[in-house]
Symmetry: C3
C-alpha cells in the first residue's frame, strides 16, 4: 500500500520506482549471466533493488523498512522474475543491460537525493547524510556483485558512479543549508545527479587511474 | 538459558535444535573443505547456524537475538567445532555432508514455519511474512557460501530448497487466515515443508532450467 | 565531535584511534592491490575501519553508531584515501602492509577489550560479550576480504589473531567478575591482547593444522 502523504512529501516517487525497477533488472541480468535458478534470480534482484535502502534504514535506525511497509514492491519483483524466466533469453541480456543504464541513472539520482534528505531529517551531520545518500544508491549493486562472487563494479570499473552520487548528495546538503524546502532540494539534487551520470555515460568519463 | 514459556509456545523447539545443529555442521564441513583454521570453522559454523535467524530479527527489529538471549547455543557451537577438529578427517566430509541432508530438511521446515509465524505476530503483510520465513531458513547457508567465496548453493544448484520453504511459509499464512492456532499452523507447515524437501531429495526433483 | 566523557570513561581512546587508522590502511592497501578505483578504496577502507564496530552496535542494538556520532572519523578516512591516491605507489604496498601489523595489533587489543566491556555493560552473558569483543576486532577485516572477493584471512591463514582476541576478551570478563573497574579491565585486557599478538608475530606462532 503506497502511502499518499509520503508520495506528496517525497515528490520523487516516480523516479524511485523507475530506479528500483532498473536496480531489480540489473540483479536479474546478473543472475541470468551466472545461470542462477529462479530463487537466485529473485534473491539477487531483491538484494539489488532493496539492499541500498535497507542498509540506509538499518544505519539510521528507521523502521519498518520501505519494502516491508509497502509490500507491493515484493509482488512486483516476483512478477518481474517470473516474466523474465518466461520471456528473457541470453541474446537479450547484453542489450537489456545496456538499456538499463538510463533508468539506472534515474535510480542513482532518486536514491542519492532521497537518502541524503532522509538522513538530514534524522539529524545527522552533513558528511554522514552524504554517505547515507551514496550508500542508498550504490549498496544494492554492491550486494548484488558480492553474492554472485564478483568484486563490486561500483568499486572497480573506474566509471564515475558513486562519485556522482557523492556530488549530488552535497547539492541536497547545500540547498538544505540555504533554507530550501526538502522537496525542492531533493528534486534539484536528483536532476543534477541524473544529468551528471548521463553526461558521464555519453562522454565516456573515467576516474583517475591509480598510479601504481 | 532456554526460556520455558517460549519452549511451550513454540512447540517446534526440538526441530529447531536439530536444524540449527545441521546448519552448524554444514558450515563446519564447508570450512573444512576450504581448509579454514579453527577460527574460520567456528565463524562459518556460527554464520550458517545463526545467520538466517539473526537477519530475520534485524529485519523485524526483534531484540535480543535468540543466540544472545540463549547463550547455550554459542557454547554448543564451540563444543562441536572442537570436537570436529579432534575427530573429523577429510574422509568423513562427504559422508557427513550427505548425512546432514536429513536434519537440514528438519531445520528448513522448522525455521521456515517459525520465522513466518514470528513475522505474522509482528503484524506484517503475508508476502513479507513468507519472505521472512524463507530468509530465516536459507540465509545462514547463503552467508556461509559467501564467506567461503562461493556463489550460494541455494541460488544456483537447481535443487528445490527455497521454493519449498516458500510453499511451506504460505501454509502458515493460510492456516493463520483460517483461524488456526499459531502452534498448530507452525507444526503443520513445518511437517509439510520437511515432507516436501524429503520427497525432493528422494525423487531427485529439479527446478526448471533457465532457457538461455 | 569527540565526546569527552566517553574519552575519559574509555581510557583506551588513543589505542582505538591508532587501531582504526591501521584497519583503514589495511583496507586501502587491499583495495590498491586489487586496483580498485578511488571509490573502492574509500569504501573498502571504511568497511575495514568501521565494519567491526558497526556490527557490534547492530548486534547490541546501540545507536547511533560511533562513526555516525563522531563524523570526524569519516573525514579522516576520506583524507587518508586522497593522500594515498596522491602519494602511494605499488612499491609502497608490501612495506606498508608489513608496517601496519604493529598498529593493527594495537587495534586488535583496543577493539577486543572495548567491545567486550560495552557488551558486558549491555548486560549480556560472558560468552556473548566475548563474541562481541572478537567480532568488533575482526569483522572489519572479514568484510574487507569478502568485498574484494577473498576468503577472510582471519579464517584461513592459521596465524593466531581471533584466538588472541578471544583470550583477551576473557581477561575483561575475568577482571570484571573480580570487581575491577571497567576502565582497568579494558586497559589490562588491551595490553594483554596486544602483547600476545606481538609475541605471535615475533615468534611465528601458528594455529594447529586441520588434520585432514
Amino acid at each position: 500500500m503506497l502511502d499518499t502523504s509520503w508520495l506528496v512529501l517525497n515528490g520523487t516517487i516516480l523516479f524511485e520506482i523507475i530506479g528500483t525497477l532498473a536496480f531489480a533488472l540489473s540483479g536479474l541480468i546478473e543472475a541470468a549471466r551466472k545461470k542462477l535458478d529462479l530463487v537466485g534470480m529473485a534473491m539477487v534482484s531483491g538484494l539489488a533493488a532493496f539492499g541500498g535502502g535497507t542498509l540506509r534504514d538499518i544505519l539510521l535506525d528507521r523502521r519498518p523498512f520501505f519494502w516491508i511497509e509497502n509490500d507491493i514492491w515484493v509482488w512486483v519483483l516476483l512478477f518481474i522474475c517470473f516474466g523474465a524466466l518466461a520471456f528473457m533469453r541470453s541474446r537479450h541480456l547484453e542489450p537489456t543491460a545496456r538499456a538499463m543504464q538510463w533508468p539506472d541513472a534515474i535510480g542513482l539520482g532518486a536514491f542519492t537525493a532521497g537518502g541524503t534528505q532522509l538522513a538530514l531529517n534524522a539529524g545527522v551531520q552533513p558528511i554522514i547524510a552524504v554517505i547515507m545518500g551514496v550508500l542508498s544508491a550504490i549498496f544494492g549493486g554492491v550486494l548484488r556483485d558480492i553474492v554472485v562472487n564478483e568484486i563490486p563494479k561500483a568499486f572497480s570499473d573506474h566509471i564515475p558512479y558513486s562519485v556522482i552520487a557523492f556530488s549530488g548528495a552535497w547539492v541536497v546538503v547545500g540547498l538544505d543549508a540555504l533554507g530550501a524546502e526538502a522537496f525542492v532540494a531533493v528534486a534539484v539534487a536528483a536532476v543534477f545527479t541524473i544529468g551528471l551520470r548521463v553526461m558521464a555515460l555519453l562522454l565516456g568519463w573515467r576516474l583517475p587511474i591509480w598510479k601504481v
